[in-house]
């Protein structure tokens, strides 16, 4: 048996360490360790609840905007504010464009290098690449000369002797299966996506003033100056600019991202049976399409799929969420094994790992800065796959059509979704669905403004003197990476307690008090490793969750014993 420690896991947000045990070329156990802590929840205590979103948004700059939204919703929920239609639609558009941009960045810039061998692209024939490109899409950048140019760029780059971020990659590993032409196609789209992402996220510039970290939220709605006929506010011209950017986003998703995912998946179909994980999937639901505040208003529905049972969707109630710190670097007053609902949550940091510098976590019962969230005491997987499964079984027509289309193209059944490849496919499907729906939200916004309704915020409770002496609230959001919740308690106009339970805390959770693994710990079990010095397969399964560790914080078990070889790779 070999124990492998991989630290840092790169091409994620934040700091993650994974330790696994490998026997006969297969992962038999895994530990996920978040290695950074900032103390956001402690810093928020005692502050003005209206300021909380500015702080909380800094939980993550990759999933920027999502914590701002969850935060203002928590305060609005606590104080009983109802945001106006314009604010609801602007928020949907900001969150929707975040999905589209972030999912594409994940595929090309964070995940692709696990599947694409950049060095192999150097031996590609531009003609073959053009033929391949034209066979899967009518995207215009597909000529032989275009790919010859990309190949020449790559050759120049390599010849410079400075490989930059591509140095020391696992190039040539037998796990890479794409033919050279497909590798060159992916390299071309890696570069195109870099340009595309900065252009389309100008939607956040128009609606949110800037990206990363948009700055037009306020509790009660938005601060955005928005009026079709104004010379200074976001006006009709700005709205048509957003429409053009949404079209640009949708084109790239439909003609580049989706065809690429399908093409790559075709070479890696074995990964539809690897990385299954725990089989419980949860979504809070999001993208409200009316102002009722009811879960039924959400375009993406709320619910759970338990034990991979696609016959029914179970309900979700935030009161059933709780966290334990049995294997985390925290203590709870009254015992670390307890499950605490976030309103009563505690953040008492207490490092209990090895003294740096260290080689491994062997022998340490506590091994992560992540807490272990559970729903009715069960570990859950969250993210695009969970959302698409819940929407699929709930019968959301757009999702059902897109899922069936992808499964049909790949010639696999729905069970293939419970896998590393399934997470990648679900993320792509979701991107396509949300890109299309965003155009509708923009049209709804334009129509509503056309009625003369310019209201952008509920300011009736802006003044803290209107607040009750005590209040508590819950702000939910489906972030690109999964279910996000902020819980706030307000006392005497200041924050009395603030807790975040974020997607990567669910997915990257350490073991709980009963020793049950978190989602990607469990998904790693059974993952093949053909060369323990080049753990590219482990990266595939971990990256399929799109980890985001700065969000999550706020891999060990002494099972090895004698005879275990420890390798730091």
């Amino acid at each position: 048996m070999t124990r492998i420690a991989i630290d840092p896991i790169t091409r994620i947000e934040g700091h993650l360490r994974i330790e696994v045990e490998v026997q006969d070329g297969v992962v038999t156990d895994a530990w996920s360790s978040g290695t950074m802590f900032r103390g956001m929840e402690l810093i928020l205590k005692g502050r003005d609840p209206r300021d909380a979103w500015v702080f909380a948004q800094r939980a993550c700059g990759v999933c920027t905007t999502v914590h701002a939204l969850a935060s203002v919703r928590s305060v609005e929920n606590a104080l009983g504010m109802t945001i106006p239609t314009n604010a609801r639609l602007v928020r949907n558009l900001i969150a929707g464009s975040q999905y589209v941009q972030d999912h594409v960045i994940h595929f090309y810039h964070l995940h692709a290098l696990d599947w694409v061998d950049v060095v192999s692209a150097l031996s590609a024939s531009p003609s073959d690449t053009a033929t391949l490109a034209q066979s899967i899409s009518d995207w215009p950048l597909s000529s032989r000369s275009y790919f010859a140019g990309v190949k020449a760029k790559l050759e120049t780059f390599v010849a410079s002797g400075q490989l930059g971020p591509f140095a020391n990659g696992y190039w040539g590993n037998a796990a890479y299966k794409l033919p050279p032409a497909a590798n060159l196609l992916a390299v071309a789209h890696y570069l195109e996506a870099l340009d595309w992402q900065r252009q389309v996220i100008r939607i956040h510039g128009l609606l949110g003033a800037k990206n990363p970290h948009p700055q037009t939220y306020v509790t009660g709605g938005m601060a955005l100056s928005l009026a079709p006929n104004s010379t200074t506010a976001l006006n009709a011209r700005g709205i048509s600019e957003i429409a053009a950017l949404l079209k640009q986003a949708q084109d790239f998703v439909d003609k580049v991202y989706i065809p690429d995912v399908l093409a790559v998946a075709g070479f890696y179909k074995d990964w539809a049976a690897i990385g299954q994980g725990i089989g419980n999937y949860m979504s809070y639901g999001d993208f409200p399409e009316d102002n009722s505040g009811q879960p039924s208003a959400n375009f993406l529905p709320r619910g759970r799929i338990m034990g991979r049972d696609l016959s029914k969707v179970e309900p979700v109630d935030h009161l059933s969420v709780a966290e334990t710190v049995a294997h985390s670097y925290y203590t709870y007053d009254g015992g670390d094994d307890k499950l605490l609902h976030p309103w009563d949550g505690q953040t008492n940091p207490k490092y209990a790992g090895p003294t740096p510098p260290f080689e491994d976590l062997v022998g340490f019962d506590k091994y992560s800065w992540l807490k272990a969230p559970r729903y009715e005491d069960q570990p859950m997987e969250v993210g695009p796959l969970a959302r698409m499964l819940v929407a699929y079984v709930s019968g959301v027509s757009e999702v059902k059509a897109a899922v069936d289309g992808v499964l049909g193209t790949l010639g696999v059944g729905p069970e293939a979704l419970f896998s590393t490849l399934g997470r990648i496919a679900a993320r792509a499907i979701e991107t396509q669905v949300i890109a299309a729906r965003s155009a509708k939200w923009l049209q709804d916004l334009d129509d509503n403004l056309g009625t003369g309704d310019l209201a952008i915020a509920d300011v009736s409770k802006w003044d803290p003197s209107t607040w009750p002496s005590e209040a508590q609230g819950w702000g939910f959001e489906e972030a690109p990476r999964g279910s996000l919740g902020h819980w706030i308690k307000i006392k005497d106009q200041t924050i009395d307690n603030y807790q975040l339970v974020v997607p990567s805390t669910w997915n990257g959770s350490p073991r709980d008090s009963q020793g049950r693994r978190g989602a990607w710990e469990e998904a790693l079990i059974g993952t093949p490793v053909n060369d323990v010095t080049q753990p590219v397969e482990i990266l595939r399964t971990v990256h399929s969750f799109d980890p985001c560790m700065a969000c999550a914080v706020h891999v060990y078990d002494p099972a090895g014993g004698a005879g275990v070889e420890i390798r730091i790779v």
């Binding site: 420690a5 840092p8 790169t10 091409r11 947000e13 700091h15 290695t35 950074m36 802590f37 900032r38 103390g39 402690l42 810093i43 502050r47 003005d48 939980a59 700059g61 990759v62 960045i105 810039h109 020449a152 760029k153 120049t156 400075q162 930059g164 591509f166 140095a167 990659g169 870099l194 340009d195 900065r198 996220i201 956040h204 510039g205 949110g208 003033a209 800037k210 990206n211 990363p212 037009t216 939220y217 709605g221 601060a223 955005l224 100056s225 928005l226 200074t232 506010a233 976001l234 940091p349 490092y351 090895p354 003294t355 740096p356 491994d360 209201a455 952008i456 080049q534 730091i568 790779v569």
Partner: protein
Amino acid sequence: MDHPSAGLAELIAAHGVSRRAFLQFSAAMAGALALPASFAPRIAAALETAPRVPVIWLEGQDCAGNTEGLLRASHPTVAELILGILSLDYHETIMAPSGKAAEQSRADTMDRFPDGYICVVEGGIPIAENGIYCTIGGRTFKDIARATIDGALATIAVGSCAFDGGLPAAKGGPTGAIGVKDLVPSATLINLPGCPMNVQNLTATIVHFLTFGEWPATDPSGRPLFAYGQLIHDQCERRAHFEQGEYVTAWGDYGSLNGWCLYKMGCKGPDTFANCPTARFNEGTSWPVKSGHGCVGCTMPAFWDQMTPFYRRLPTPPPFATDVTADQIGLVLVGGVAALSVAHGVGSYARQRRAASAEAAAGGVATMEAPPAVEAPATAPPPAAAPPGPETPTADDKGTDR
């Protein structure tokens, strides 16, 4: 410093960037740095012979917001420019290898280019309890950062957390987070605070270095004057409404729809030095005040504590229509001497650059006589109530340069 690569212009051409786009970029950089237009050819010439500078980008207690900011860089195409100017040898969010192979990339660059790489630091550096609040590869971030900064040609602290600890250093934070200047006081350091920084200022800082062989002039906090030399309030497009006493008083009100001043909603623009109103974000699309929300002062020291509550208006109520009083607000809050020395530093810097241009640019007399943007004082005369400043600097005086 080892220069293993071809000239930048050649590389950029190979990466598919047109000559025209390259010169546009040079002109944009001259503008960003507040240099006369005659400097654009000099910037272009410098970049044509520049090597790809090795960069080690470290992330500590960060949110990767500055990394995402880097991805938004524009003009010319971001991918090609970054691949052309910099060799991003270590950057956890982007690099291909993980684990030991990733750490090897950092070691390789430090070995191959001793004192010849730029270290970029993003995120706070926790030093409490001997640094256990952030580890990478089983080592504390503070140890990794210290070693990497020590061996660097220069270090650029991007974002507010690397500047002074930022958010994890805010009141209530238990990790003892500090910025680069406090971890390695001897570092050759440029600070680009902001939450996140504006990537245009990072690009301009690097271009300045490649063009002039030195870092841009900075204020006493190590912030480049071209970007942090002026109050937001003095550059603000809503300033006229401040002078007229026209304020937004509730979100979505008449003033909000008509672009009135956000002072009463807590805007920290009168207290904040940054070029957000002119540089803007996302290819010049917008900045917070333009879109309707006040400035939160994110380029200023300890802003999470000093600028909060964000919606409380600044303490000195300004009388209407007196520009002087508006500046006093800033001076009172940030400290009069520092503010005035910044103003003089800008003037000195501009004079110095103009002197240099007289040597470098032949036949550019007419252009040189046009004052650089940073020196144009049309709407901002020296505040009458400010304390006396230092002597007028001479041409070879670097003013407040480090």
